[in-house]
């Protein structure tokens, strides 16, 4: 018994030693392996030669445990057995065993069945051993092999297998970026030029607004008063051709103003609603009228002067034809000579001042009345004598200081001129004075308007209208000439503007 016991103990000890030795050997082997199971797969290409893989019909590399199992021949044999077992009739199979849907990661489609083990590690190990469904299709196998070769090359040339990143993210950036990157690189040099471009665009409108219009006429425009000898209004041929290229609106406005100037026997006047209405453009918007007039001014056909905050005057270019027209002042001067003068218009106003004599009949010196009467003069000589007496009757109201009387036609001066040439000078003197007085009154009213303010002035105007209606009747309000006359008179009284006599005396 003692011998047997000793033998058994010796066997046990030997067995222990062998076990220990075996364990050490195993431990050494484990120590030489890479620490992470991921690395085992990367070592696979080194440990297994390509031909061996070709022998294997189903390389199961999607799971780590399966890879290890594939390394063992007995396992593979076992699998082949299972494969053989699947050849049995379909009716013998359990439906849940083989038709269970394969577990796939959502990124598996990007791998083209080259699933990454670490991605699927979280899944429980598959209990069914049916690899037929997990095996990649036959047509992908060569592709897998190519990928593995690439991995091998990368391992050999670059880095240790541990640091090798998962191949899944690599193809994406390789496929997409090239085109957009090129575009992005190409864009930056293109984008800077557009930035400065808008600045000149903003700057451009300013010069566009300052529209330059070529002047048609460069002659200076001066205020004149003319009479038409014949009944026809003549426009010189050259001037008509000059006007032809004008736009329709401007052409129309100029022609209308020209005809109006002939009708009032002067080429200037106040700008306002009255003028617009007088030329037959009452329905034209004020802005449009102003714009057209401005363009006409730029073309050298008119001048607009602002004489106060609310009032401005215009002077129209009037083609003077000495054969059919006469300038009023010149004519008055030169009538004794009986020859029409072609002197420049600038001289017209000057001769009026030196007239030495004064006529008691001041009202007759009105420029408007004088102009209108001239054409009639030759034809109606008989009437003129009668008209000559009328102003004498009208004198008393004028003495009251009613400037409105200026606007009424005073036909006296023309017949008197014919009969008594010396009297002309007297009328000219009065005419000049009346003109000066009208300007004075206008300026005084403007001053008063500014002094009292717009709203108060409107109230005064309202009172004036009521007063005129009450005193002179409702019909006077419709008669523009008479209304202006009474209104001016009202203003003269309301703002204490000196009447004509007082003003003349004050002027000396």
């Amino acid at each position: 018994m003692g011998i047997l016991k000793a033998i058994s103990e010796a066997v046990k000890e030997k067995a222990k030693e062998e076990i220990i030795r075996y364990l050490k050997k195993v431990a050494d082997e484990n120590g030489s392996r890479p620490p992470h199971p991921r690395d085992r797969q990367s070592e696979r290409p080194d440990r297994h030669a390509e031909p061996r893989r070709e022998e294997r019909p189903y390389p199961p590399k999607e799971r780590q445990d399966r890879t290890e199992r594939n390394d063992r021949p007995e396992r593979n044999n076992d699998r082949y057995d299972r494969q053989d077992r699947q050849d049995q009739p379909r009716s013998d199979r359990r439906p849940d065993q083989f038709e269970r849907p394969p577990q796939r990661d959502r990124l598996d489609h990007a791998d083209r069945n080259d699933r990454q083990p670490e991605r699927n590690d979280h899944r429980p190990p598959r209990t069914d051993r049916n690899d037929r469904y997990d095996a990649p299709p036959q047509e992908h196998r060569s592709w897998d092999r190519d990928r593995e070769r690439e991995k091998e090359r990368q391992q050999q040339h670059h880095q240790p297998p541990v640091q090798r990143p998962a191949p899944q993210p690599e193809p994406r950036p390789d496929i997409r970026p090239p085109a957009p990157v090129e575009q992005k690189k190409a864009e930056p040099p293109i984008t800077p030029p557009p930035a400065p471009a808008p600045q000149p665009v903003i700057a451009k409108p300013q010069p566009v607004k300052e529209e330059w219009i070529a002047p048609l006429i460069e002659e200076p425009i001066e205020k004149i008063q003319v009479t038409v000898i014949t009944q026809d209004i003549v426009i010189p041929h050259e001037f008509a051709r000059t006007l032809q290229p004008l736009p329709l609106n401007e052409y129309t406005l100029y022609i209308k103003l020209l005809l109006y100037s002939f009708s009032i026997h002067k080429n200037y006047g106040y700008l306002g609603a009255g003028l617009k209405k007088s030329v037959g453009l009452d329905e034209l918007a004020q802005e449009e009228f102003s714009r057209l007039l401005d363009r006409i001014c730029k073309r050298g056909l008119a001048i607009v002067e602002k004489i106060s905050e609310y009032q401005s005057t215009y002077t129209l270019y009037l083609p003077f034809d000495p054969e059919t027209m006469k300038k009023v002042d010149e004519k008055k001067k030169d009538e004794p000579e009986a020859e029409p003068e072609k002197a420049p218009r600038a001289k017209e106003k000057e001769p009026a001042k030196p007239a030495p004599q004064k006529q008691p009949d001041k009202q007759t010196g009105r420029p408007r009345g004088g102009k209108k009467e001239e054409p009639k003069k030759g034809k109606e000589a008989g009437r003129d004598e009668k008209k000559a007496k009328e102003p004498e009757k009208k004198q008393p109201p004028k003495g009251r200081g009613r400037p409105a009387a200026k606007e009424r036609p005073a036909p006296v001066e023309e017949p008197v001129e014919e009969m008594i040439p010396g009297r002309t000078a007297i009328h000219l003197d009065d005419d000049g004075l009346m003109k000066a007085y009208r300007t004075f009154v206008s300026m005084e009213i403007d001053k008063a308007k500014m002094r009292v303010g717009r709203s108060n002035f409107d109230k005064i105007y309202m009172e004036a209208v009521k007063y005129i209606d009450k005193k002179h009747g409702f019909k006077v309000l419709s008669d523009q000439e008479r209304f202006r006359e009474y209104l001016t008179q009202y203003y003269i009284s309301a703002f204490d503007i000196p009447d004509f006599e007082a003003w003349k005396k004050a002027k000396g």
Binding site: G272, L275, D282, P403, I445, K466, L477, L487
Partner: protein
């Protein structure tokens, strides 16, 4: 019947006066008023009904006030 026609013409002037924006329009309305007044006087003679007399006075007053509200025309031309 006649008085209604006259009253309508005066009321028309009254209403159009509210839409009047320019001296030219005012002048047309004033002419209408003159014509209506003339027709009324021709038709009734000295015995104008009080209703029409009041309407004439009212329209005239409104015309005058409107004239005062409109922008004044150039005083001197």
């Amino acid at each position: 019947m006649d008085i209604r026609i006259f009253m309508k013409s005066l009321n028309d002037i009254d209403i159009k006066l509210m839409l009047c924006k320019s001296n030219f329009q005012w002048k047309l309305l004033a002419e209408k008023y003159d014509e209506a007044e003339r027709k009324i006087q021709e038709f009734y003679g000295a015995k104008i009904p009080n209703e029409l007399t009041d309407a004439l006075g009212r329209v005239r007053l409104q015309l005058v006030e409107k004239k005062g509200h409109l922008p004044p025309e150039d005083i001197l031309v």
